[in-house]
Amino acid sequence: MMEFQPGEERGKDGRRIIKVRKEDLVSTLSKLKSEGYIHLSLITGVDRKDFIEVVYHLHSFERNEYISVKTVTYNSEVPSVTSLWKSADWEEREEYDLVGIRFIGHPNLKRLFLPENWVGHPLRKDYDLKNVQYINVDEEGEDYATFDPGDGW
Amino acid sequence: MEVKEPGRKIPLVGSLEGIMTVFKHSLMKPVTVQYPEEKEYTPDRFRFRIFLKLDDCVGCTLCEQVCPNKSIKMETVKRENPRNKRMIYPDVNFGTCTVCRNCEEICPTDAIYLTHVFETSRTKNSFLYSPEELSKPEDEVVK
């Protein structure tokens, strides 16, 4: 993969893609939000093997256009944007759950779908699909994951 | 376009109208189908059970590749077929088959195709159909 350069480019369908360093992420997003991009459509983490790319899709109701903001992280840590959008809460939890991005400053960074003690993050490219994990419910009604096929289903 | 909320009405009148509407339906014909006695109409494109023409199959493994659930596996069958030199034919596990029809779509010789037969319930817990069984009608398959 090529080196990451901050800047702006056009995507495959002619849409603006703004590339920022992860230190400038929150300030860029808050500037965009004040410009009218108030609808956070999607947060995506893409595992590029040696780094993780995080893509934010924003939409403006007034201008009726959407743009994406891209950043990369090499230590899978990204500043959280929960202070800007409340919808980022669950989206970041989902990305933490499945891709394993740690969002710094998230108030409640827990797994969204999988049980808390699940081993690995499934959407990572190095996740081992052969290592089957089973889920069961404990006495308290909380789910837990286990490698023992006799314990769960 | 702004939706309109219903205006104020005399209480209970609307509810009584609703009761009358419901009562009217008791005089209408039922729409349900009593399954084992009467069969529902199945259109031409209705698809379920996969059939295989052994003579047409060339063993190209495209159906195995395209199957999203890996329900199709290639299997060696000792059989004289000049077009199929490798003697491999698909077998289908109906336990995981989602009848997505991709195998029928991709087959270059139309050897594998889906049919109307959907009454495939079995007392045996294996739904694996070997190539010979796939080429037989459903009632001849002994399970």
Partner: protein, 346 residues
Amino acid sequence: MSLLSRTYSIFSILGYYASTFITYLIDSIILLLVAAVAIILTIYFFRKYMARVQLRIGPNRVGKYGTLQLIADALKLMGKESILPRLRDDLPYKVAPILVFTGLMIAFSLLPYGSFFWIGDVFISNSGVGIILLFAVLAIMPIGELLAGISSHNKYSLTGALRSVAKDISFEVPMMISVLAIVVMASARTPESLNIASVVSSEILPYGILQPLGLFVFYIGMIARASYSPFDMGESESELVSGYSTEYSGMRFGLFYVGMFGTILLGSFIVSLFYLGGYNGPYQWNLGLIYLLIKAVVVIVISFTVWLTMPRIRIDKFVNLGWKYLFPISVINLILAGFLTLYLGW
């Protein structure tokens, strides 16, 4: 000659006490059987009617037209294991369904059913204070529901029981006041104004025509007593799973189920007795029972249609309805009834 006196005359050679005991025993058994069959028929009719309203066929596999479906269901319920919650309060938990069922059966025994050809008047008990007794017995059923809810140690059950108690308190008072209006009217013509049979027999016009407001309040009260939609907050299926009967299974649940449909049947009998003229009809050919049944079936059909159409009302809205609307309406109805009785002599 009534059913009771005929049975009594058969056993009269045994002496007074023995024959009275045997007479009431036999009549009670007959009542139990007849009531059970009637409730089963009600359930069957409900299922068929619901199916037809919903463009389905309904039970049609067991027996001809599914007539034996209910027997099969009852056998299934009896054969099922009764799962008991571990933290239950044992005695109330087991007593509750029996209370509901017993209250219902006693209430059935208090009603006069009119005359039927050679049998004569069909009734079990002809108490002089039948009306008071009837509503006292009907008040046993909510106690059963409350016990069931509290003793099963389940949050849903508890909420359901609390809801059904709140509901009962708010509709009982208006309902009793509207019954009082009937007693007021009947007292002008009959000395036994608390006896159900004499109240019904002494009417000139059906009370429902004279007191449409009373009929309205009483009918809503009966719907709420039987707790079906729109007033099924106590066991609201989509909110509280099954309300006070959540933790019940097997025949104990069956008793609650029978209790509900029995109350619908009983309620339609009471409404048609008090307000629609009961067993009085155009021709006095000992057809009282038939008239009563026809009226009851009409009321049942209306009840079922309401059940199938209406959404569930919220509990606080129902308490509001009870105290803010039904209570004043029933009081106005009582005043009107007194006025009609005093000045017009109806």
